[in-house]
């Protein structure tokens, strides 16, 4: 009895893990499921506040300001394409943040004065948002 109980538990766990794997595999390309480090995430939030991204975006974790010229970044980790056009990958996001018009010609978001490292941290923060 004992051993068959354990067997069932193991089976259930394996199935659950499999299901999670399938669901998350459906959700995003592999690269966006990387786990950013906590340090990068908190540096990212600091960089967002320092650069004043909030003057155009509502961003979870930023109490003020909540500008509305740009789209809300709530649930951004689930967005399929950056700005409706670019693959949602950390590298692409980081370069979009630094200079949106350069990689999406005509984008209304102006280039932002953040360093490459800051842009990567900001990307980590935006992917770390757990809104689902």
């Amino acid at each position: 009895m004992v051993s068959s109980d354990r067997g069932r538990a193991v089976l259930a766990t394996v199935m659950a893990m499999g299901a999670t794997g399938v669901i998350s595999a459906c959700k995003d390309p592999v690269e966006t499921r990387y786990e950013p480090s906590d340090a990068a995430i908190s540096r990212g939030l600091a960089a967002i506040e320092k650069a004043g991204c909030g003057s155009c975006h509502e961003i979870p974790g930023v109490d003020w300001p909540k500008g509305r010229l740009g789209p809300s970044l709530k649930g951004f980790d689930d967005v399929g394409l950056i700005a409706g056009q670019l693959p949602n990958r950390p590298g692409v996001l980081a370069s979009f943040i630094r200079n949106a018009p350069a990689i999406k010609p005509g984008s209304p978001m102006p280039p932002m004065p953040v360093s490459e490292a800051e842009a990567q941290d900001i990307a980590s923060y935006l992917y770390g948002l757990d809104s689902d």
Partner: protein, 345 residues
């Protein structure tokens, strides 16, 4: 630039305990004295309480006697508070003394919710106008003539001096002085309506050389005869220097187009830019907006992104402020205006 007032006033030690000049040093001395006295009085009260509850009966009787009340309840506070008042007022008297001879004078007017800044000559005539930023030379006392355009505000730059109310219809004086070069955050310290918490400014203290250069530069802008648009060649080099990637899209934002939009969409009715037809006085002077450390009265860093964000949607950033949101302008139009304002160093 990523300087804002909040960052400047945050951290340890708090600016009130970190004076950067003689006037604020006096305020700090007073603060410490009050704090020390508070500690002594608290200790005396605790001891008295202990005596009243657990002390020997003879002491208890004394504490409950009429004599104790006369001494501890009337004489002690009377003497201490009077002495403190006199000492405090004499210590800080120099902050608000009448203007002496040829002291440097700046008029600062509190407005809902920003600060108008006017540099005066010895006769009190306005020489230069600015907003939300006050420039002073180091080691020089500067008299601020404080006024208000609407409700009561209070001027406070804790590193450099004490607080002083700005009262409608009155002129109050406050001296500030910095003994080191630097940027010091200031705020309105009297509730003045919805956006009181977003009403700040920066005081910048310059070494003597830098001060002379700053002043000469400002006077030169004042006397410029030509329009505030730099020649195209210079403009492109500014763009290219700002961000190399910017050079890829040189034609995207056009400062001349921005100038026209600034004049046509009504900005000029509220804002002044020296040397142009823009002569409005309802909002902050924008003659030197590009060299300001902050936007929106000390609250945002100042760069193209925040500039566009502010012009397009200042009502989301600072709800109820007296500038309308220009969300009817397209992203490119906002960019043109920002590019034009970026030339106003």
């Amino acid at each position: 630039m990523d300087w804002t007032v909040t960052d400047a006033l945050w951290g340890w030690p708090p600016p009130v305990l970190d004076p950067a000049g003689p006037y604020s040093a006096q305020v700090t001395t007073l603060s410490w004295a009050l704090f020390a006295l508070g500690v002594v009085v608290t200790a005396v009260v605790i001891v008295a309480l202990w005596v009243a509850i657990k002390g020997p009966p003879r002491w208890k009787a004394k504490l409950g006697g009429e004599r104790a009340i006369w001494i501890g309840g009337v004489a002690f506070p009377g003497v201490v508070l009077t002495a403190l008042l006199i000492w405090g007022l004499t210590l800080t008297a120099s902050l608000t003394e009448p203007i002496r001879g040829d002291e440097m004078r700046i008029r600062v007017t509190g407005e809902m919710w920003w600060f108008r800044v006017q540099y005066l000559d010895a006769d009190g005539v306005v020489v230069m106008q600015d907003a939300n930023e006050i420039h002073i030379p180091v080691d020089t006392p500067v008299v601020l003539e404080l006024e208000s355009a609407d409700v009561i505000h209070s001027f406070w730059v804790p590193h450099l001096s004490g607080k002083k109310d700005m009262i409608p219809g009155r002129r109050t004086l406050l001296r500030i002085e910095a003994d080191r070069a630097g940027e010091f955050g200031g705020v309105c310290a009297e509730y003045c309506g919805g956006q009181h918490a977003l009403m700040g400014f920066v005081a910048v203290a310059h070494e003597p050389d830098a001060w002379q250069a700053w002043r000469a530069d400002r006077i030169a802008t004042l006397n410029r005869a030509q329009s505030p648009i730099a020649p195209t060649a210079q403009r492109n080099s500014i763009d290219a220097a700002g961000d190399p990637a910017e050079a890829d899209i040189p034609a995207r934002y056009d400062a001349r187009r921005g100038y026209d939009l600034f004049m046509e969409t009504g900005c000029a009715a509220c804002h002044r830019i020296a040397g142009s037809e823009a002569n409005g006085m309802a909002g902050p002077d924008l003659t030197h907006i590009a060299s300001r450390r902050t936007l929106g009265a000390g609250i945002l860093p100042n760069h193209r992104g925040t500039l566009i964000g502010w012009i397009g949607d200042s009502q989301s950033i600072k709800p109820g402020n007296r500038m309308p949101s220009y969300d009817r302008l397209s992203a490119d139009e906002l960019g043109h205006i920002a590019a034009f304002l970026e030339l106003q160093k």
